[in-house]
């Protein structure tokens, strides 16, 4: 009996302490931030670092995918939605109808690198070649079709590595390489994660794959990508993604209301500042602005 009473006392004491910690002191403002799984690690790092900048603001970050974040913004339940794709027209209409005119902020870039096995003699790929390899009805099924001989690759068959069909990476690669109306061919190996693509390519001489630049290792080769015959190819890197010269780089976005609350716009300004941009660079993505970090 005595034990129970004291346990109850302790619980209530803890509750009171928590309430005081939350309610007491100056007003703390909370920013709700939700969306893209690609961005979630960066968003978390920003939220943590911002604690030092402005202790009065708490940023609550959660993932769930670009679609989830955008849906929450439409419903007005978050202040900032993270997205690795632009909002669709239909989504913007829905947001406006709900009285939340959205505004887009580019906070960084993610280069989708074309990965090749280390032994693959290919150094560059054109968008057209990628379309022939990846596209429905494409004609390249063997490395010899590209005039190459890959050592260790039995039958010279191209092992095409892709992503599961609801990933943002999949959708972006399809849009850039295969066009708006294009579709992937059947028979691609559809990996369930950015890292799995790189792992498979690393261990398979015949393979070609695409994945975020942040997942590159020393044991794979990154193709230099050009947009057509006679064009100079561009190696994927943080700098070529930032300046827009690398053709398969997608913007990483944050959406807010067109007139965000002061503490929200202060947070976004900080993200776009050198300090914020160095954090995204540290996480392996390309910053939106040209910064030099220590």
């Amino acid at each position: 009996m005595l034990f129970r009473t004291s346990a109850r006392l302790m619980v209530s004491a803890a509750l009171v302490a928590m309430l005081m910690a939350c309610g007491g002191g100056e007003q703390r403002q909370v920013i709700q931030n939700k969306g893209s799984d690609t961005l979630v690690n960066v968003a978390q790092a920003w939220a943590e670092a911002y604690q030092m900048v402005d202790p009065a603001v708490v940023v609550a970050v959660s993932g769930g995918g670009s679609g989830t974040g955008i849906a929450a913004l439409i419903n007005g339940t978050v202040d900032i939605a993270n997205a690795s794709r632009a909002m669709k027209e239909k989504e913007v209409e829905m947001a406006v109808a709900a009285g939340n005119q959205p505004m887009e902020h580019v906070v960084g870039f993610d280069a989708l690198a074309v990965y090749l096995h280390a032994d693959n003699p290919a150094t560059h790929m054109s968008i057209d070649q990628l379309a022939e390899i990846y596209g429905d009805g494409g004609t390249y099924t063997k490395w010899t079709d590209l005039g190459l001989e890959v050592p260790g690759c039995q039958g010279q068959e191209i092992v095409v590595v892709s992503r599961q069909n609801n990933s943002g990476t999949y959708a972006y690669f399809r849009q850039v390489v295969l066009g708006k109306e294009g579709d992937f061919r059947l028979g691609t190996r559809d990996m369930h994660g950015s890292k799995d693509v790189v792992d498979l390519v690393e261990n398979t001489p015949c393979a070609i794959g695409y994945s975020g630049l942040a997942y590159a290792t020393d044991h794979v080769k990154l193709a230099c990508v050009d947009t057509g015959v006679g064009e100079e190819c561009v190696t994927p890197s943080v700098s070529t993604a930032s300046d827009g010269s690398y053709p398969i780089a997608r913007p990483l976005l944050m959406y807010t209301d067109v007139e965000p609350a002061p503490h929200v716009s202060a947070y976004l300004d900080w993200i776009k500042s050198d300090q914020g941009q160095c954090i995204i660079k540290e996480k392996g993505y390309a910053p939106a602005t040209d910064v030099t970090c220590g």
């Binding site: 039995q154 069909n165 990933s167 708006k180 579709d183 059947l186 028979g187 498979l200 261990n203």
Partner: protein, 307 residues
């Protein structure tokens, strides 16, 4: 002799604490007993409700079962054909049975007919231990161990294929098949064996001519349960098949299973979209198939027990 007082009859009729406990336990046991039925009906109603929207609106029987084009997120022309996925599941399960039947039948015959005493107990426990390995661990074995072995041994570009998943799935299905097959063999009355031996049959003749035919139904049930396991397995086939939409022409082709498709795609699909509902329609299809397989296995096994 005994010092304990025998309780009088009216003590049982009293509404005392024991009576309530007795009743409460009865109710709990009853609820436990019918819970399986409640859950299975609940699950069926749930997946039907989620999937029926697709069946009534976007569903085309010939496309769904006749086309290999599974492109639910296409911008220009979404297609929902599961032929290649069915072929993937069927090929992997078929190969798994080819692997599992000799293994499990051999193990069951040895455990039931030859092994005795400690050796028998040890084998039984080991077989059950094999069944306790989580499927993600099997998938990992397929990915990390079988993949390079297959590439080197057979000189093929990728080791994630029907062969890999079939062997993994065969090893996964073997323990349960062994247990059921062993039960079936044990259920054959000893007088059959004695009669055969009395007529001068050798041990192998007893097993081959008498025990196996007598246990036929139970063994078939064991195989069917293994097939059901193969159809329903998700994680290991997701990792070991290569997850590639493809109608296989050899065991070295990568394929994709029905279950793996649901697992890989459902998480990021907008609730209520045709893609979401199509995945649930696959769920209904899988549910019906495994239900039929398990039910027939059960009826066959039950038949042999009574007979």
């Amino acid at each position: 002799m005994t010092k304990e007082k025998v309780p009088a009859r009216q003590d049982f009729d009293q509404l005392n604490r024991d009576w309530f406990i007795d009743k409460a336990v009865q109710v709990l046991v009853f609820l436990g007993g019918i819970s399986a039925i409640v859950f299975i009906i609940g699950i069926f109603v749930f997946i039907s409700r989620e999937g029926l929207g697709f069946i009534f609106e976007d569903f085309s029987f010939t496309e769904f079962f006749g086309s290999p084009n599974w492109r639910p997120t296409s911008e220009s022309n979404p297609t929902y054909g599961i032929l290649a996925l069915v072929a993937g599941t069927a090929s992997v399960t078929g190969l798994a049975m080819l692997v599992a039947i000799p293994f499990s039948l051999g193990a069951a015959i040895y455990i039931a007919e030859f092994a005795s005493g400690k050796k028998r107990e040890f084998l039984k426990v080991t077989v059950e231990l094999l069944a306790a390995i989580p499927s993600v661990v099997w998938g990992f074995i397929g990915l990390a161990i079988m993949n390079p072995i297959i590439i080197q041994t057979f000189n093929v570009p990728v080791g994630l294929n029907v062969l890999n998943a079939g062997v993994i799935l065969g090893l996964m299905a073997a323990p349960i098949m062994t247990s059921i097959a062993e039960d079936a063999l044990k259920a054959v009355p000893d007088r059959y064996r004695e009669a055969a031996e009395a007529m001068g049959a050798t041990r192998w003749q007893v097993i081959y001519k008498v025990v196996l035919p007598a246990a036929k139904n139970g063994l078939l049930g064991a195989v069917l349960l293994g097939v059901g396991r193969g159809f329903g397995e998700t994680m290991a086939v997701l990792m070991a098949t290569g997850h590639s939409i493809n109608i296989p022409t050899s065991v070295f082709d990568s394929v994709r299973a029905l279950t793996a498709t649901i697992a890989a795609e459902l998480g990021e699909t907008a609730v209520g979209s045709p893609h979401y509902e199509a995945l649930f329609t696959i769920g209904i299809f899988l549910f019906v198939i495994t239900f039929i397989i398990n039910l027939s296995a059960d009826l066959i096994v039950r038949g042999v027990r009574k007979g």
